[in-house]
Subunit: 219 residues, 2 copies
DNA sequence: TCTCCTATGATTAGCGA
DNA sequence: TTCGCTAATCATAGGAG
């Protein structure tokens, strides 16, 4: 029975402190796991207890390694961010366009959104650093892609909305051999062309969610 | 009023997820602070929020830098070293990636089915019913995709290098115009992804004392 | 959106075995 | 030391403004 409200200070009693540490470490790992699940945060926790030679690693050792390796790449991302800050308008523009895409796609239904994200934008790691000219190129590229996306979305919206009965009849009457395949192929082609360069991906990732990095180090 | 017991799964609603993330991030920082005070843990937390360009750093950027610098001289971890260097690591990773591929492919299969139904069947007539041949078509398509995935997994096993799951998924999901080039690229990406593990090794060299380290990294 | 609120579920301090 | 227990404190989901 928690008789006292914990006073927030160093627990001098050794046993008590260790007990508290164990309990709270367990609690934090649980919290981390929950956060990871609930918010889609890819995370890891490495916990060395007092005197323990083996750390408690969550969710697993190699996942931890992966997360840490990505942490290592952070400086690169920071560099890019810095570059983007210098070209602030570009970054803003990208973010805005990205938001537009998401909005429109959501309006148009989860189907296209999921497909585009999965085939074109879903997370991949970044392996390069963008040069100034590459960034300029990117802006132009994105601009063009956005037009295509809008056209495509419009097209999909038109074709997805239930057509008038006459149109349905007509379409059914002149059914091509494999209408689904054609439709799918066209969409795939559009998607394919929409795939960004790998080094661009951090830009897209940035607007798509949160990430969290934490380090604890016992004295 | 927390009416429901939280169901431990990804929150699909965007706003709700972000709200939850904010609350829980705050909670975790508080927990970290308490743990630090109560148990004398020298710790830091770096938290990147959704769309925030600057992370929330606790207790301060300076202290975080100190902790991170100590992270570079981390204690022993023979087991992890082994896991990272040797077959165990690869095999674990292989298993996990295979599982991911299976999962992804299942999702893709559903997606494609939905797409086909929508564009090929449902879109044509609100009250239409899929013909026998159309359904057979869908079944065949899914079957084919699964074969591709199996082949891909086999290929991966033979080369014993793991490309990122996204690349696998992409390759399996859409026939690309230049498969060989893509293959090569995927392998390079895989190599790249596996290389950085090595920089971790120095972190697991000898040292003493209890410590706690945690990292969270959004995809 | 954001903040504030509070009922409810979750965490945990202190204790005894 | 390490369990398990239970009351008490704490965190937070969901709703209201």
């Amino acid at each position: 029975m928690s008789r006292k409200k914990v006073k927030l200070q160093w627990i001098s009693n050794d046993a008590a402190r260790r007990a508290t540490f164990k309990k709270r470490r367990k609690g934090m790992i649980k919290k981390a796991a929950e956060l990871s699940t609930l918010c889609g945060v890819n995370a890891c926790l490495i916990v060395y207890g007092d005197g323990e030679q083996q750390p408690e690693i969550w969710p697993s050792a190699h996942d931890a390694a992966i997360v840490l390796s990505r942490l290592k790449r952070l400086p690169e991302m920071e560099q890019i961010k810095q570059m983007m800050n210098q070209e602030g308008f570009m970054r803003q523009r990208l973010a805005k366009l990205q938001e537009q895409v998401r909005k429109q796609e959501r309006e148009n239904g989860e189907l296209e959104t999921t497909l585009l994200l999965r085939h074109g934008l879903a997370g991949r790691s970044m392996h390069g650093v963008a040069s100034r000219s590459q960034l300029a190129n990117l802006a132009w590229l994105i601009d063009r892609k956005m037009c295509e996306v809008r056209r495509r979305i419009e097209s999909l919206r038109r074709s997805s909305v239930m057509p008038p009965p006459e149109a349905v009849k007509k379409e059914a009457a002149s059914a091509s051999p494999a209408p689904e395949a054609k439709e799918k192929k066209a969409l795939e082609a559009a998607t394919e062309e929409l795939q960004p360069q790998e080094w661009l991906l951090p830009f897209f990732e940035h607007g798509n969610g949160a990430w969290l990095d934490a380090c604890f180090l016992k004295n």
